[in-house]
Amino acid sequence: MSELLLTIDGKEVKASEGMTILQSAQRAGIPIPTLCHHEKLEPYGACRICIVELESQGWTKLVVSCLYPVEKNLVVKTRSEKVDRIRRTILELQLAHAPESLPLQALAKEYGADRDRFEKEPSFCILCGLCVRHCTEVKKKNAIAFVDRGTRREISFIPEIASRECWKCKECFSLCPTSYLQAAYFLTKGLAFPSSSSEPASEE
C-alpha cells in the first residue's frame, strides 16, 4: 500500500491507499462523529452523520467520510456551516425516535440540536444496523435482521435462530446506541422461546 498525503482541517495527514477519510482522520486524532460505523464491520453509510466537505479548485462537495476513499492532495473540512447544519438536522430526526439515547444526547449538545424539534415517535431504535451487521459479518449467525422497508423498517430477531444462538452471545447488546435492542431481545424471548431447552437455567 502506497502512502499519500491529504489535508484534513488544514492539517497535513498521511494515509495509505485504500483507507477511507474517516480512518485517516481517526489515525491523525481528528474527531468525526459516527453512529453506524464500527471498525470491525464493513462501511455501511446509513447514518450520514460523518459527512464532510471536500474542497477542490474552488468548488465544494459533500461526501460521507466512512466510505469515501482517500486521494492524493484531497482537502477535507470536517466542520463547516453546512456540515454542522446537516448533522444537527440528522440528530434532530433521530432524537424523535430515541430521545434518551446517550450518544445522541452528547452529539446533540455539541451541535446544538433541538431534542424536541420533531414530534416524538419513540421507536427507540435508530436503525444504525450495528447489531444486524455484527451478527451477520462477525458472528455469521443472522439471528437478527431488518424487516420491511422505508419508514416501516425495523429490526427483528429471527426466533428460530435466536433461541439457539443468542443466549450464549449477546455481543450486540453493547453495540446498541439505545436500549432498544435488549428490549427487543427479551420481548422476542418472552414471546417466542420462553423455555428454550438449549439455554441453561442459570441464565435466567
Binding site: 466510505l67 476513499p69 430526526l93 414530534e119 419508514t151
Partner: protein, 642 residues
C-alpha cells in the same frame, strides 16, 4: 429452427420470410399490449381469426396480436395492411363488418376511424392521425407490425442486421466510437453518456464483465419500457448483444419487474428464439463471439431501479443501494465491471449502428440527441405513449400530440421525471425537451413519465402525493431519506389539511437540503424535487394553504366546502336524491341546504346540479354563509301565484 451462421445467411433468412409472405399480402394487426388487452383486444383477435375463417379468407389474410403503438386512449387499436387503415376502439362486434368490407371489398368502415375533435375530419391511415403525425417513431413505430412472440416478424423488418454488421465488419473500438459520436445518453433518468459508461467498463480491470438491462420501471404512470420490452423485445436484445461485444462481456441480465408478466413472457420467448437461430449463445452468427442472457425478476421495489440497489438485488440480497464513490461500470455486480442501461437506451443501439451516428444525431438539442419516448398521462386528451424528437417543446407534446386538456379546462403544470422530477408551469411550455434543459428548469428527464395537470390540481397535494409514494418506496437504510421524507410528508399533509403553520416552508426547505445533499442514493437525493419545484413555481399556493387555510385549486378536502346559493336553487331535488351522505335537506319548493357537519365533500351535488341553475358552489378560505332561515326556504312559483 435453423441456425444462422453469417450475415449473408441472415439476409437469406430474411428474404425467405419475405417471399413466403408476399409484399401485398393483407394482414390484420391488433395491439396486444397491456392497455389494449385490458380493453378487450384478445377477444378482438379471436373474433378476427374466427371471422376470417368463416368468410374463407384464411389463406389470404393473416392476423396477429402485436406490440403497443401507443394510442392507448383509443384501444383496442387495429391496423389493416397493406393499406395501413387504422381502426380505433374496435370491439368483437365490429369484426364481421371489417372483414367483409375492408378485407373483402377494400372499403373503409367510416365509423371506426379517428375523428378530429375540432375539424370533424376523419383520418383513415395511421400516419394521418394527428397523435401520430407529430411524432418521430424510430423505436416504437415497428411495434404494431410485430408479433413480439415471433422472431420472424423482427427479422422481416431487418432485425439483427445491426448485430450482423457489428460482428462481421466492426471492431469493438469502432462500435464504441460510433455510440460515443452519437451522443446517446441514458434514457433511465440520469442521462449519463452511454459511450462514456461503456468505455469505463471496457477499460476497467476485472473479469467477467456484465451487461444489464434495467427494466425495473416503477414511476407512477410510466410504461415506456414496458411497451418496448413487451412489444419489440428483440430490439432490446440486439442492443444488449452489441453492447456486450463492445465491452467484452459474455453474460447479460435482464432485470425486469415481476409486475410486468407479459414483458417477462415475451422477452423470455425472444431469448429462446434468438438462441435457436444462433443470435445468442455460442459462436453468434459464426463470429466466434459467445454471449448468454438470463432474465431476473424483481420483487417489487421501486428503489431497485437505482443502479447499485439493482445490482445488490441481482446478487440475491435485499435490494438496497450501496455506496458508490466508484462507478458501477467499474465495480458493479459481484464487484465486476457492469454496464447497466435502461431498456430504451439499449433499444437505441441497433438504430445508431444502422443509421450511423450522424443521422441518429440529426434530431435533438445540442446535448440531447435522438428521440425520447414519454408516457403522456393525466389530464390529457390523448393518453398514451409518444415518441418525439429531443428538442420538441412541451407545448407541442401536450397540445399537438396530446390533443390538449379535456373538458375545456386550463393547463396548469406538467410533471416530468417521475417522483424524482418536478412540476413545470405554463410559462415554461415553450421549453425544449432535453436532459439539461429540464434539469435547469428544476425538473428532470427521468425515464419519461409525463403527467399533465389542469386547473383543478392542487400543487401542494401533488408534492404530498409523491412524497407519500417515496416514503413507501424508500429502502429505509439512510437517515436523510427515511426520516427526512417521513417528516416532509407529515408537514405537507398538515398543510393540505389546514394545519400548516408559519415556518413550515422553511422546515421543508431544510429537510430538502439534508435529503438532497446527504442521502445515500439518487432516490433519496432527488426525493425533495416534487416539493422544491412546486415551491419554486407555485409558492403562492403554499402560502394560501398555510396563511389563509385556502386551497386555490379547490381540491384539498379539509379546506373546501360545498354551499347551495339560495338565490339560484330551484329546489329540483337532484342533489338531495344523489347526496350519498344524506347531508342535504329540502323538498319540492323548499330550497336545498347542505348540512356542513354531515357533508363528506364528495362533490356529487356540484356534478348533478343542472347547468341552468348552477346553484352549488365550491368555496375555500372563506366561511360558509349561514343557512337561510326556514321561512325563506319556501319557493313561491310564479305560475302558482296567478
Amino acid at each position: 429452427m435453423a441456425r444462422i451462421n453469417s450475415s449473408v445467411e441472415l439476409e437469406k433468412a430474411r428474404q425467405n420470410i419475405l417471399s413466403r409472405r408476399g409484399p401485398n399480402q393483407a394482414s390484420v394487426s391488433v395491439c396486444a399490449g397491456t392497455g389494449c388487452l385490458a380493453s378487450g383486444a384478445s377477444q378482438v383477435i379471436d373474433a378476427f381469426t374466427a371471422e376470417i375463417e368463416k368468410q374463407g379468407l384464411t389463406m389470404a389474410v393473416s392476423t396477429k396480436g402485436t406490440g403497443c403503438p401507443g394510442f392507448c386512449e383509443r384501444g383496442p387499436v387495429v391496423v389493416i395492411y397493406p393499406e395501413e387503415i387504422c381502426y380505433l376502439q374496435v370491439s368483437p362486434e365490429d369484426v364481421p363488418e371489417i372483414v367483409s368490407k375492408t378485407l373483402k371489398e377494400k372499403k373503409v368502415v367510416d365509423r371506426l376511424l379517428y375523428v378530429d375533435a375540432v375539424t370533424g375530419e376523419k383520418a383513415a391511415r395511421e400516419s394521418d392521425i394527428p397523435f401520430y403525425k407529430h411524432q418521430v417513431r424510430n423505436l416504437i413505430g415497428n411495434n404494431i407490425k410485430i408479433d413480439p412472440k415471433s422472431i420472424d416478424d423482427y427479422l422481416a423488418l431487418g432485425g439483427y442486421s445491426a448485430l450482423a454488421k457489428v460482428l462481421s465488419r466492426m471492431l469493438p473500438e469502432q462500435v464504441l466510437e460510433e455510440i460515443t459520436k452519437s451522443n446517446l445518453r441514458g434514457r433511465g433518468g440520469g442521462g449519463f453518456p452511454t459511450g462514456r459508461k461503456w468505455a469505463e467498463s471496457r477499460n476497467a480491470p476485472g473479469d467477467p464483465k456484465y451487461v444489464i438491462v434495467n427494466a425495473d420501471e416503477g414511476d407512477p404512470g410510466a410504461f415506456m419500457d414496458r411497451a418496448l420490452l413487451e412489444g419489440n423485445p428483440h430490439s432490446v436484445l440486439e442492443g444488449l448483444i452489441i453492447g456486450a461485444y463492445t465491452i467484452g462481456s459474455h453474460e447479460g441480465y435482464i432485470y425486469v419487474r415481476q409486475e410486468y408478466p407479459l414483458a417477462v413472457e415475451n422477452v423470455t420467448i425472444a431469448i429462446r428464439q434468438a438462441e435457436e437461430r444462433a443470435l445468442l449463445g455460442k459462436n453468434i452468427l459464426g463470429s466466434g463471439f459467445d454471449f448468454t442472457i438470463k432474465v431476473h425478476k424483481g420483487a417489487g421495489a421501486f428503489v431497485c431501479g437505482e443502479s447499485s440497489a439493482l445490482m445488490t438485488a441481482l446478487e440475491g440480497r435485499a435490494g438496497e443501494p450501496r455506496p458508490k464513490y466508484i462507478h458501477t461500470a467499474v465495480k458493479g455486480v459481484w464487484d465486476k465491471p457492469s454496464v447497466l442501461n435502461n431498456v430504451e437506451t439499449w433499444a437505441n443501439v441497433p438504430l445508431i449502428i444502422n443509421l450511423g451516428a450522424e443521422r441518429f444525431a440529426k434530431y435533438g438539442t445540442e446535448r440531447s440527441k435522438g428521440t425520447k419516448i414519454f408516457s403522456l398521462v393525466g389530464k390529457i386528451t390523448n393518453t398514451g405513449l409518444v415518441e418525439v424528437p429531443m428538442g420538441i417543446t412541451l407545448r407541442d407534446i401536450i397540445f399537438k400530440v396530446g390533443g390538449g386538456i379535456p373538458g375545456g379546462k386550463r393547463f396548469k403544470a406538467v410533471q416530468t421525471g417521475g417522483p424524482s422530477g418536478g412540476c413545470l408551469p405554463e410559462e415554461l411550455l415553450d421549453l425544449e425537451v432535453g436532459f439539461d434543459e429540464l434539469t435547469r428548469a428544476g425538473s428532470m428527464m427521468g425515464s419519461g413519465g409525463m403527467i399533465v395537470m389542469d386547473e383543478d390540481t392542487c400543487m401542494v397535494d401533488v408534492a404530498r402525493y409523491f412524497l407519500e409514494f417515496l416514503t413507501d418506496e424508500s429502502c429505509g437504510k439512510c437517515v436523510p431519506c427515511r426520516e427526512g421524507i417521513r417528516q416532509m410528508l407529515k408537514t405537507l399533509t398538515n398543510i393540505t389539511r389546514g394545519k400548516g403553520k408559519d415556518g413550515d416552508i422553511e422546515l421543508l426547505e431544510q429537510l430538502a437540503e439534508v435529503a438532497g445533499e446527504a442521502a445515500l442514493c439518487a432516490l433519496g437525493r432527488s426525493a425533495p424535487n416534487p416539493f422544491l419545484s412546486t415551491l419554486k413555481y407555485f409558492r403562492t399556493e403554499y402560502e394560501a394553504h398555510i396563511k389563509e387555510k385556502r386551497c386555490p385549486a379547490l381540491s384539498c378536502k379539509d379546506l373546501i366546502a360545498f354551499y347551495i346559493d339560495p338565490e339560484k336553487c330551484q329546489a329540483c331535488m337532484a342533489c338531495v336524491r344523489k347526496c350519498p351522505a344524506e347531508a342535504i335537506s329540502g323538498g319540492k319548493n323548499r330550497r336545498h341546504v347542505i348540512d356542513q357537519e354531515k357533508c363528506t365533500k364528495c362533490g356529487t351535488c356540484l356534478q348533478v346540479c343542472p347547468p341552468r341553475f348552477r346553484a352549488v358552489k365550491k368555496i375555500s378560505g372563506e366561511p360558509v354563509p349561514p343557512p337561510v332561515s326556514e321561512e325563506a326556504r319556501t319557493i313561491v312559483r310564479k305560475s302558482k301565484e296567478t
